[in-house]
Symmetry: C2
Subunit: 240 residues, 2 copies
DNA sequence: TCTTTTAACTTGTGATCACATTTTTCGCAA
DNA sequence: TTGCGAAAAATGTGATCACAAGTTAAAAGA
């Protein structure tokens, strides 16, 4: 939440406006915010405001508005009854929905990913190496008890796999789910400590990819989700 | 696409701005556009523009922008490489993804709906009556060959069921899928005629709800989706 | 008649201002 | 110290303008 976007020098002094930059500014605000949410860097219930966001990114209010609107459209942000914008709170019912949706979608997406890399050996090699590297750092983060690094790396691990599917419709659905439970998960893990995360299914996931075994992969992904979500559910103080 | 939003009389003459209305104007623009997309009233590839939309709804460009941005966020609209906004085109790969996602999500959502109405008999009665009425009109539309009415009523039928689940996370995911294939489906049905739609699973769906049989309901919903999507896939000229 | 160039128009994006509410802050009294 | 109420600051939303880039239409040349 403290990163800076290239503040086009024209903005401050002269009122030279227009497209200018190589990428739309609202896009940059959006991406940064999205990463922060998925990695759990923004606490549930935290209030955002158009003007504060704009100031932080050193842009006008317009890009901030559009980024907020976009995140709200996928359920990551909530507009309260009084028109206030906050990071979505979790409820028990919502958590159940997210779990069911993840279980329904992510194994399918994993299957697509495997199907695709099986046809592209070089890409498969890159994917496996990437997953192994992330998982190694993940283990270190867990042992270190580094919740922040864990959240970041865990999402990186899953999305490295999912992105390999080259299936944007499914990817967007899954991403919207992660945007919704990311902030909450981070809070729970922070409370429980990383020790509860030691027995994930990442090794099995990598194995299944290497072996090209789709059934095994989907089962491992599902198990990983179920285990992770159960860990959260068990913390009864989690939902307020 | 020709409906009007209450044009607050203050807007035209005096520059009295601000919240004013009871509901945000961008929300109204969004809802209208969403309904039009799901019902297939906007053809794939059709170009939208902020200013034209604003003119049509008799609002300024701001509410139109936000509505467009929001629909783009869920994949209903595309921003082309040259910053043009169009109704999303369909591709073969995308259609496959949508089918898989629908098969994965909509039976689950149906199960949630049944589970909920089983606990609320009055609501269950209302739901069944509502479904029966819509299905009756649906049959008439099919016999009449009225593609427009069919698209409208078919979405009403499914969402009447889905809304009963009171599960907004899942509902939003499913809605985003319908927003993406609605325009395309309408084109295909328009080409094939409504005769190919005679053997849907709506009767079985209603039956299963009445009987409170979740397995039967989910199977019927899945069959309805698979059948509907296969109808589309078979039309090889459909995807351009 | 067909191609090419140029001018007019349209469009998305960013900036800025206005207004009605909501939220916070601060001083005063009990 | 604790409530309470009014002033002050902040916020979402809508309107409007500016600018650069894209699209379309027209005009000019072959």
């Amino acid at each position: 939440m403290s990163s800076r976007v290239k503040s086009t020098p024209e903005n401050s002094a002269a009122p030279v406006k227009g497209g200018g930059a190589d990428k739309a500014m609202h896009e940059q605000v959006y991406s940064t915010l999205r990463e922060a949410l998925i990695a759990g860097q923004l606490a549930p219930g935290r209030a955002l405001s158009v003007r504060r966001l704009a100031a932080e990114f050193e842009v006008s209010t317009m890009p901030a508005r559009e980024a907020i609107r976009r995140l709200a459209a996928v359920g990551a942000l909530d507009f309260t009854d009084t028109r206030r914008v906050t990071v979505s709170q979790m409820t028990e019912a919502k958590l159940r929905e997210i779990k069911e949706a993840r279980v329904a979608l992510e194994p399918v997406l994993s299957g697509f990913a495997l199907e695709r890399v099986e046809a592209l050996p070089r890409e498969k090699g890159r994917l496996v190496k990437s997953l192994e590297k992330i998982d190694k750092n993940l283990d270190l983060a867990i042992r270190r008890g580094d919740v922040m690094a864990y959240s970041q790396l865990n999402s990186e691990f899953h999305f490295a796999l999912y992105r390999a599917a080259n299936a944007n419709v499914l990817l967007n659905l899954v991403e919207s789910l992660w945007l919704q439970f990311g902030p909450f998960m981070r809070v729970v893990i922070g409370r429980l400590g990383t020790s509860c995360l030691e027995d994930d299914q990442h090794k099995e996931i990598i194995e299944a990819v290497v072996e090209g075994d789709s059934a095994k992969l989907q089962a491992a992904v599902k198990a990983d989700i179920v285990h992770g979500m159960q860990t959260i559910e068990l913390d009864d103080n989690a939902v307020d």
